[in-house]
């Protein structure tokens, strides 16, 4: 029988793989048409090599990060690789996570992505989904909301973040070369980050 953390990563991976063509199409419009292809290649490998029965959350997240780093390439490889490895550090040795742990994971992921990508909110990147999602999740947890409600708030903010990326000019990544022509297009990285958070919510809510 597989562990819960494996099942959760599997749900994330399958969500990315199922949406490979759509993510690539988004990237074709404002980038270089490889985001879905690269992420799907990375997660196919992740699902093949992760030990199914281990419930060591930190270990599985770290392995996921290292595999993405060595299989994805482009900008997504270092960014998602760093995100999962940072999450793995926070979860080292853990076999279960609390709602508060979720906040610590978010903080580590955002710090890691910012260090590697040198981006801030509002530059039409994955951070435009992740940062609002973190803020909504934290606010819900701190106000005593249920985990399910906090996860719903997280996803709603991430989805709004994706919509927001349609309205702004890219100033990081390959889309930044387009200037104003990047307006009207949603960011592929923010989209794949939102799929990730939706998969986590769907897994936890069952």
């Amino acid at each position: 029988m597989s562990s819960k953390i494996y099942d959760c990563i599997e749900m994330i991976g399958n969500r990315i793989i199922e949406n490979k063509d759509f993510l690539t199409e988004l990237d074709r419009e404002i980038g270089d048409a490889d985001h879905g292809i690269n992420m799907a290649r990375g997660f196919t490998e992740v699902l093949a090599i992760l030990p199914k029965d281990s419930d060591n959350i930190g270990d599985l997240l770290k392995k996921t990060g290292m595999t993405l780093l060595s299989k994805v390439g482009g900008a997504s490889g270092p960014l998602y690789g760093t995100a999962y490895m940072q999450a793995g550090k926070v979860c080292a040795g853990k076999t279960a996570l609390t709602a508060q742990d979720g906040k610590a994971v978010f903080e580590a992921v955002i710090a890691g992505i910012q260090k590697r990508g040198k981006a801030v909110k509002g530059e039409k990147t994955m951070l435009d989904a992740i940062i609002p999602a973190f803020e909504a999740y934290s606010a819900a947890v701190d106000s005593g909301a249920s985990v399910n409600d906090a996860l719903d708030a997280m996803c709603k903010a991430a989805e709004e973040g994706v919509e927001y990326t349609k309205t702004i000019i890219a100033t990081k990544g390959r889309a930044s070369y387009l200037g104003e022509r990047s307006i009207g297009h949603q960011d592929p990285g923010a989209t794949s980050a939102t799929y990730t958070m939706q998969a986590v919510r769907d897994f936890i809510k069952g």
Partner: protein
Amino acid sequence: MKKLINGVDNVVDEMLRGMVAAHPEYVERVEGTDVVIRTGAKKTDKVVLISGGGSGHEPAHGGYVGKGMLDGAVAGAVFTSPTPDQVYEAIKATECGKGALLIIKNYTGDVMNFEMAGEMAGDEDIEVAQVIVADDVAVENSTWTTGRRGIAGTIFVHKIAGAKAEEGASLAEVKAVAEKVIANVRSMGMAIEPCTVPAVGKPGFELAEDEVEIGIGIHGEPGTHKEKIGPASATVDQMLDKILAEGIYGKGDRVAVMVNGMGGTPLSELYIANLEVSKVLADKGIVVAKTLVGNYMTSLEMAGFSITLLKLDDELEALLNAPADTPAFKQV
């Protein structure tokens, strides 16, 4: 999609194997990686130069591995930066105590992956320096973008920094001359027909029958604008205007010129373009010391070309004219 391939998943592997089969006296593959290095690389006692990037730009970069240019080249998936572990393997396979210079084209992914590889090598006490080539004037350089893209001007960095390293210069000296090239090199490209990434199966952008895209990058990413196709001379004039507006190249200056094919443009058309380049530069009193015409930094089967100018001083000109012997660049 019509391509001479055996399957989209083995394009890079089979391309590298075919390359090694063609040029075993120049390059060998680091087993289990997509890295090619000089045959017998570890015997060199010099600063090593590593470059690479997405595949699809052949002969860049594996074709420039050899005496007087690169020591190792890392091939990513088509139009996708190679991963840090692969770049790290290239450093490990070539470095011999004098340090390694990473020559990176300015794309977000390339910079991140090469930087991480440099950090990994640094953790093992290997001295690593990096330079980032950003020669494409089609893209405005401001705090509001990632900065200019690195395109065909990169070949001049390989050539000149490679010659410097071959002379036995230190890592700091090789890096300094590479930076000097980067400061003095500018390029601009255009496309007549788009290209198709094998794994995607359709063109990266669309052009009408009578339309061209000015300012195209080398990944089929959209350029600055589309326009109706005009005579080659008018297209060249427009691109040179943008390069010359940089204010680097003036009357009496000596320059090297590269008229680079994107992969699907016949050499005859590149020579037609070069005729106009040479006329315009002569009119402005800019002295062409050396001209390269051919497919140096391609974009799969894209039709189109780029123009690169490099302002020379005595040091750069001597290094540019120094011998080189690689599969794609030979100079006695």
